[in-house]
């Protein structure tokens, strides 16, 4: 899959945006994932090799938005909304109906641009984000950590910790 390509399996009659890079052997379900991707950055979304981006995943990027997803990741329907930078490390699972967002909605095309907000959300390698979890701006999820289903996170999750609840609390440390 390369930038600007029409996906051979796609129901949505548009090509991938030119500033989206998809690694070898990775899968993107549809160019519909980029319907609200208004990023003007040279590389808006970079998806590493051997990563699956499945049905219902949406990249909701403002003009300064950037997303970097590592290798061997699985995203099964997350909303990723930023005008800053969101990074997901290698070998991370992101479950159904997860929202990673630092703003309440995607930047509409007819509104003046807002300033970028710098680094926004970082998820380390080998993490696992449970269904319906919400990760807000400023969240750092450490390597190997687990975010429980439905948790609402807006701070640090230490490496190999498990957090759950709203607001999320550490329920286990050290994996």
């Amino acid at each position: 899959m390369t930038a600007g390509q029409v996906l051979p399996h796609d129901w949505f009659p548009r090509s991938l945006p030119p500033n989206v890079v998809v690694g070898a052997r990775s899968w993107v379900f549809s160019a519909h994932a980029f319907l609200h991707c208004r990023s003007q950055r040279p590389c808006a979304v970079r998806i590493g090799q051997d990563t699956g981006i499945y049905h219902g995943t949406h990249f909701e990027l403002g003009p300064e938005g950037e997303v970097e997803i590592g290798r061997w990741c699985t995203l099964v329907g997350a909303v990723i909304c930023t005008n800053g930078r969101i990074v997901i490390g290698d070998c991370t699972f992101v479950a159904h109906e997860v929202v990673l967002a630092d703003t309440a909605f995607a930047h509409p095309p007819d509104k003046p641009a807002e300033p970028a907000i710098g680094s926004s959300i970082e998820i380390g390698e080998n993490a696992w984000i449970g269904a319906r979890a919400v990760l807000l701006g400023g969240t750092r999820v450490g390597e190997g950590a687990v975010v429980g289903a439905g948790a609402v996170v807006d701070g640090e999750v230490p490496p190999y910790a498990t957090v759950a609840g709203n607001p999320a609390k550490i329920v286990r440390t050290g994996g």
Binding site: P13, C81, E97, V99, A104, F105, A106, P108, V152, N166
Partner: protein, 197 residues
Amino acid sequence: MTAEPFDVRTVTGAWDYATLPPNVQLARGCWIERPQSFERFRSTRAPGVRLDEGVRVYGWTVFNVEPGGSVLVGAGSVLVGAVFMCQERITLGRAVTVSYQVTIADSDFHPRDPRDRRRDAIASAPEGDPRERPPVESRPVEIGDNAWIGIGAIVLKGVHIGAGARIGAGAVVARDVAAGAHVTGNPATVVDPGEGE
């Protein structure tokens, strides 16, 4: 068998809004991304839905409006993923923001009493008689101007949210929220009472 060519206008807000039922009233400058937002609209009220000037409705928004329901949305509001479950009336003020995966319901849609609920279950079966369903309670929801409903929040029946209030991500709101207040959690509790508005 040939597949119909997919019409991209049906997912980009460029479709013909005149195909909506006549009791969906749109002021100037409204934008509705997908007609599917009205698939479960069955209100017979006038209006069943009214969107004031410049309201933006993203594709995740769903108007589940029962026959007696009305959803009224003030000018300049942004509905990203608002799932309205409306039996009677849900009112949003001006410039309200509703983020992803939010549910706003003015009824529980089933009786709380277990015996009534058993009757409701039987009447609601695929081949049941929906006329046998017991009545359900509804209490209108009101959300004030400039309020902000965060990701995944749930707003339940009878709740009044004051102007400028902020509902945090994942909050479950079953009681009134004062103007300007910030609430989070399940059940939602006040983290900042604000100074009103």
